[in-house]
Subunit: 354 residues, 2 copies
């Protein structure tokens, strides 16, 4: 009942059930009922919906037809963790694209555990899905090879495997670090702390490279302070925040770029507790647009990782590979560009566009 | 890599991989690797992890053992929509509980479409899951009965079916409306607008009843203005917000309670655009703690719907029913209590606890 998002809002394309629902002033579930179980819908509501269908020239797409005929096929999606909203975004985008092509999508979270990831892959394999999309936490080529041997294509997202020969969809993490640091530099900040942990993780490593590039480009006017902390979650941020708050004022950075939003949120809490104003004294931003970090007192600037687009692109690649199953398939590597999301934590309340 | 949440943070129980990771200062993926693929981990890291394992008295739980032996069984979870973060919370709680009992969990979103819901149930049925948890958008007893006939228990969450004979987990939506309205009344607001659409949806209907009860309880000092809008999503909020902004100042409510956070977010945008201060002139709050609505300029007060707890309780009921499969099972109806989340949009920035 909460369907609707910016991405679809602006999209062109044939009218769908959401458009019908909006025009008729009813829920999408009601439209679905009119199409599938008209006997359950009051006559007056039914005619409103039918009128909207006619007015929009709406026709049931191939998904709906496949679902009715029991012909729908499935895609299995395995992600690292549902606490990171990036993967929820990936799932939403993948589901939307899958459905438009008469596929259903089932989702599983590995919960940061390779053995769980493996169990999910086995489940999807034995459930005979058409193909699998995997956002692995690290090289998983043995697991991927097993699924492939059973004739199912695997598309890898958000991990740039050096080993696996597969289609993959990536976000440009180096660019994410670069545009985040550039934003702080453009605001006139000159002492930038980059807070991170786990440089062995690809996204951390790549973002750090982008941050360094932006600072280097700015020349000697900007100093980079690299601050390692204990982990990528709030405890790591609290630790870093306390250390920043404890610095003498003249040594303290005037901007903090945390490699995750959860780190940034915890840093803001510690600074604020210590009487340091954000962003006046210290501008703070995150770097992965994780909605789990949006609950803080100060809306957080970040970099959007294009999760929905990642999901859509992965489905496109998977279906392409399915179409090519009789040979001639060429794997592709799709690199998506992140974009800056500016909120109060870097530019202050007054300047935030409403 | 972003695992960790309040619910688990305070939980008692045996040490798990997250505790080991924290103590060793490594990622959970690294701990998993030490346990499953020690050859992939550098010796120094491995000994840090092994030391933490010993220090905590960590032992692999039955899940890990089942996963290693290929014995893990599965639960299928079908929700209405992944845009509403309530269902992501449900999935997280369900996954955690399932995993602790040696089950994996696969998730599917019906995307507001009964035919898609049906296709997902068929998928899980033919994938031979042990049982299904369903958050239906409306009465779905035919679909549920079909799954049951194949010997799979079905637990219903977030919908109080009058027809289906099944275990169910509900949130007290009437109480949610009551505590939200009570919060505004306690702040001294006397003209409260309740903005809603789709009174045919159970949550809307029940929350309205709670709002009315709180206002009635306050006596003649508080007036309730019930404002219907076009839908539960941002366009409905923009519509309501424009109408509120257009009222003469002396007639305008001094508080707005929107039945969803997405409505509330859009209302705040419209009021702010019209030069009306939130919360000074008009306090605004939502009622479902949807993280999709947290991106606005003013942090939003709301009511938490206990999604993770809902997921955990549903898994417990399902596993209970599986244990009772040879007879004697008594269905249960579990009613969870919502709680108030107070942020700037009702009490102002100065008073928000950091």
């Amino acid at each position: 009942m909460m369907r609707k998002n910016g991405a679809r809002g602006g999209a062109a394309g044939p009218p769908n059930m959401h458009h019908v629902a909006e025009l008729a002033g009813v829920s999408v579930a009601t439209v679905s009922n009119v199409l599938n179980h008209p006997e359950k819908v009051a006559g007056s509501t039914r005619s409103k919906v039918e009128k909207a269908i006619e007015q929009l020239g709406f026709t049931l797409n191939q998904t709906a037809r496949a679902l009715r005929s029991g012909d729908a096929r499935s895609i299995g999606l395995v992600v690292i963790d549902l606490t990171n909203s990036l993967f929820v975004d990936v799932a939403r985008g993948a589901q939307e694209q899958a459905q438009s092509q008469a596929f259903t999508l089932q989702l599983a979270s590995a919960n940061n555990d390779l053995a769980v990831q493996d169990a999910h892959l086995s489940f999807f394999d034995s459930a005979r899905v058409s193909g699998v999309i995997l956002a692995p936490m690290q090289e998983s080529d043995e697991q991927i090879a097993r699924v492939r041997r059973h004739g199912r294509p695997v598309v890898v997202v958000n991990f740039d495997s050096k080993l696996t020969d597969s289609c993959r969809v990536l976000i440009d993490n180096e660019r994410a670090g670069y545009i985040a640091a550039k934003h702080l530099i453009d605001l006139g900040r000159t002492r930038i702390a980059f807070v991170a942990a786990h440089d062995d993780y690809q996204p951390v490593h790549d973002r750090r490279r982008g941050v360094r590039a932006a600072v280097e480009e700015a020349g000697g006017a900007v100093t980079l302070i690299e601050l390692d902390t204990v982990d990528l979650d709030p405890p790591g941020g609290a630790d870093a925040g306390r250390r920043l708050a404890g610095m003498p004022e003249q040594e303290r950075p005037d901007a903090v770029l945390a490699v995750t939003d959860l780190l940034a949120m915890a840093i803001i809490n510690e600074l604020t507790n210590a009487g340091i104003s954000v962003p006046e004294d210290v501008a703070v931003m995150g770097c992965d647009h994780n909605s789990a970090a949006w609950g803080g007192a100060i809306p957080l600037s970040s970099v959007s990782m294009q999760g929905e687009e990642m999901g859509r692109a992965a489905v496109d690649l998977l279906l392409g590979e399915l179409r090519d199953e009789h040979g001639g398939h060429v794997h592709r590597r799709v690199l998506l560009q992140p974009h800056l999301v500016v909120r109060e934590s870097t530019i202050g309340r007054e300047r935030v566009p409403v």
